[in-house]
């Protein structure tokens, strides 16, 4: 502000008489520094400076009458802008970059969806005292409210068996994925044995399985698809990206071996070794575990013959391979002892027919038996 005008001194009085100036022209003043004493009809009032600055000019001398709104002092420099108020001072916008405001009308979405444990302060305090985490409890009271009895019961369980271990990371992810699968997918499992008696010593079993899955996908592409159960839509894949289940101490990982239909055996073996090493080192990037079009679970490296492996949507197929063993088989009219590889194929019956799955399994077995 360039001119400071005599403010309304709060008495509704139109004028005041200058009693004494406390500053001189050329003085530098601070905010709220007393500039002048004036006498109104009611009292002597000290008028503070509304801003810091250098006084360029004083209007009037002791004994002069100044009307409210008339200039009292002139500050050096500055513009004679309208201060926008007749009393006091308003802070002025400083922002040079202007933005549109963003706000939510009403409650935030996270507030509308929030599900939190509901209980009384007394029970909350009890839980804290007994070291029970409310978030792990399912309330038995009205509206799911956690009751004192719930907390005491949980405390008893904790004392007898220790506190429950909440799932973390990969295990938590597995629990969610499996529950989702169980809720959505309509799984059917077919089993078959592949006669692999003719395989030479030292055959890379996993590579043979990967090759066989690729051959089966090429023979019956209907199982190498994604299925959207909400839209009831299928998305066929020309490329075969194979999820390979890898068991670790931390839990189940399924890294993805890309484009298994068009890569050499050596290349695939290198790729698989690298993925396994990354999983073991816990350095595998999330992108390497996404986008599988079909999955292989080679649990035969551990134990077990047949299984009903679980499909993870949107995939529709998973192949399980059990432990290779020697068993009697009919060859022509004779019983021979051959090495056989037990296979389990689970498919989502929403997305594929039994015929398609059977033809897929046939192609798979045939490829392994060659």
């Amino acid at each position: 502000m360039k001119y400071f005008k005599l403010p309304d001194l709060g008495e509704g009085l139109p004028e005041a008489e200058i009693v004494e100036w406390h500053v001189q022209e050329g003085d530098r003043v601070d905010v709220d520094q007393i500039l002048v004493s004036v006498e109104t009809a009611k009292a002597i009032v000290e008028v503070p400076s509304p801003q810091a600055g250098v006084i360029a000019h004083l209007f009037g001398a002791a004994g002069d009458t100044i009307h409210t709104g008339e200039p009292l002092v002139e500050f050096a420099g500055g513009e004679d802008a309208d201060s926008g108020t007749v009393v006091g001072q308003l802070s002025q916008a400083q922002n040079t970059e202007s933005q549109r405001e963003s706000f939510i009308i009403g409650a935030a979405p996270s507030s509308r969806q929030a599900v939190h444990s509901t209980t009384t302060p007394a029970v909350r305090s009890l839980a804290q005292r007994l070291g029970v985490s409310l978030e792990t409890l399912r309330g038995s009271g009205p509206g799911g409210r956690v009751t004192a009895r719930d907390v005491e019961h949980a405390a008893d369980l904790n004392q007898s068996f220790g506190a429950p271990e909440p799932l973390k990371g990969v295990r938590k992810q597995m629990a969610r994925a499996m529950a989702q699968s169980h809720a959505e997918v309509v799984p059917v499992t077919l089993c078959e044995d592949a006669d692999i008696n003719h395989w030479p010593e030292g055959t890379d079993i996993t590579m043979r399985l990967i090759q066989a899955v690729a051959a089966a996908c090429q023979a019956v592409p209907d199982l190498n698809v994604w299925f959207d159960g909400q839209q009831l839509a299928r998305r066929p894949h020309h490329r075969i990206d194979l999820g390979v289940a890898v068991d670790t101490e931390q839990g189940l990982f399924v890294p993805v071996l890309r484009d298994i239909g068009n890569r050499s055996l050596d290349d695939l073996r290198d790729g698989l070794n690298r993925l396994r090493a990354d999983v073991k080192a816990r350095s595998i990037p999330p992108a390497e575990m996404q986008g599988a079009t079909i999955t292989l679970s080679n649990f035969g490296t551990l134990a077990g013959r047949y299984a009903s492996p679980v499909i993870v949507p949107p995939q529709v197929t998973i192949v399980g391979a059990g432990v290779i063993r020697r068993q009697p088989v009919a060859v022509g009219n004779e019983v021979c002892v051959h090495r056989v590889l037990p296979l389990s194929l689970t498919f989502d019956h929403r997305a594929a027919t039994g015929g398609e799955a059977a033809r897929f399994l046939q192609a798979l077995t045939q490829s392994l038996s060659e």
Binding site: L90, E101, A107, R124
Partner: protein, 329 residues
């Protein structure tokens, strides 16, 4: 010129101009609002644009301004009156409480009272006595009287349009400390905001900060600082004190379990007490800590030299939030 960076004050002027333009029944009245453009220039240029029959300078008589507004409103006009400062609103109380607020009830629905009483309120601008109070609770207590407080240019624009179009009497309180404090882009599109909801300014999970008027600025500053400390704050501008949107407040505090209510008005019997009581009644089982209030003091608003001591500041909000976060039963 449809989309400009404007202050809260400009937004009031823009909404008034829009209302005058779109509805011939809208008239403005008040002291010095015409030729002078109002004490804060809220009505600047409107008399020149719409004429002295639409933008009326009145004598210095608040009782008359309110009475005239009640009369105009019941007869089909939409008066928008300005009271220069909230400290001068008391002469209008007889008309607001005994007539405007109960017009619908008294006439069994035959008459409504679609008037708006605008008044700048709150401290922090170095004004003299009677120019800095926040007495919104007195008005919000009256059934039938809507009390609306914007805290940003966009909400000032949308809420004032809504207030003028509303068939109920509305007291529209403008936080004068932030009249010109910041500029945001506001589109003059004639779109009103709802008169009975809160506005969620920040979404967060750890604690809900509830405020209105000029204190929303300090609340947002505190929220910024707390975010850096790792405390995720939900910030809610209550905006309409009567009727108040309890549902939004309950939903948010049920999520976070903790809240601090910040207002400039004195502690005792303030709207913070009403909100805290409602949360205790309806969200008790979600609370992790007692609702906490950061308010003005229970004293007459001091003269400008000491007003900063009276006004809640960012530091007080930070302390209240930290203590609420650390609270354990």
């Amino acid at each position: 010129m449809n989309d400009n960076a404007i202050t809260l004050l400009d937004a009031v002027n823009l909404a008034l101009a829009r209302a005058l333009e779109e509805d011939p029944n809208v008239v403005l009245l008040g002291e010095d609002i015409g030729t002078n453009g109002g004490v804060f220039r809220a009505t600047d240029g409107l008399k020149a644009r719409f004429g002295e029959r639409r933008v009326i300078d009145t004598p210095l008589a608040e009782t008359m301004i309110a009475g005239l507004s009640v009369g105009l409103a019941t007869q089909g006009m939409r008066p928008v009156a300005e009271i220069q400062f909230m400290g001068f609103i008391f002469p209008t109380m007889e008309h607001l409480v005994a007539h405007a607020a109960r017009m619908r009830h008294r006439t069994r629905g035959r008459l409504a009272c679609p008037m708006v009483l605008r008044a700048p309120f709150g401290g922090g601008i170095h004004a003299p006595e009677h120019h800095s109070e926040s007495t919104e609770t007195l008005l919000a207590h009256i059934p039938g009287l809507r009390v609306v407080i914007p805290s940003s240019p966009a909400r000032a624009y949308g809420l004032l349009l809504a207030a003028i179009r509303c068939d109920d009497p509305v007291v529209f309180l403008e936080p004068k400390r932030i009249y010109r404090a910041s500029k945001t882009l506001v589109e003059d599109n004639g779109e009103a905001l709802p008169l009975d909801t809160c506005f969620t300014l920040r979404e967060g999970n750890d604690i809900t900060l509830i405020s209105w008027g000029a204190m929303v600025q300090e609340t947002l500053m505190a929220a910024d600082q707390l975010t850096e400390e790792g405390i995720s704050c939900e910030v809610i501008d209550v905006a309409t004190l009567n009727p108040i949107d309890h549902a939004t407040l309950i939903a948010s505090v049920s999520k976070t379990g903790r809240c601090v209510i910040i207002h400039e008005a004195p502690h005792h019997g303030g709207m913070g007490a009403e909100i805290a009581a409602t949360l205790s009644e309806q969200a008790l089982t979600y609370l992790q800590a007692p609702p906490r209030r950061v308010t003005g003091d229970d004293t007459v608003m001091p003269y400008y030299r000491y007003e900063q001591l009276y006004l809640p500041d960012v530091e007080e909000i930070l302390i209240a939030v930290r203590e609420t976060m650390e609270y354990s039963g």
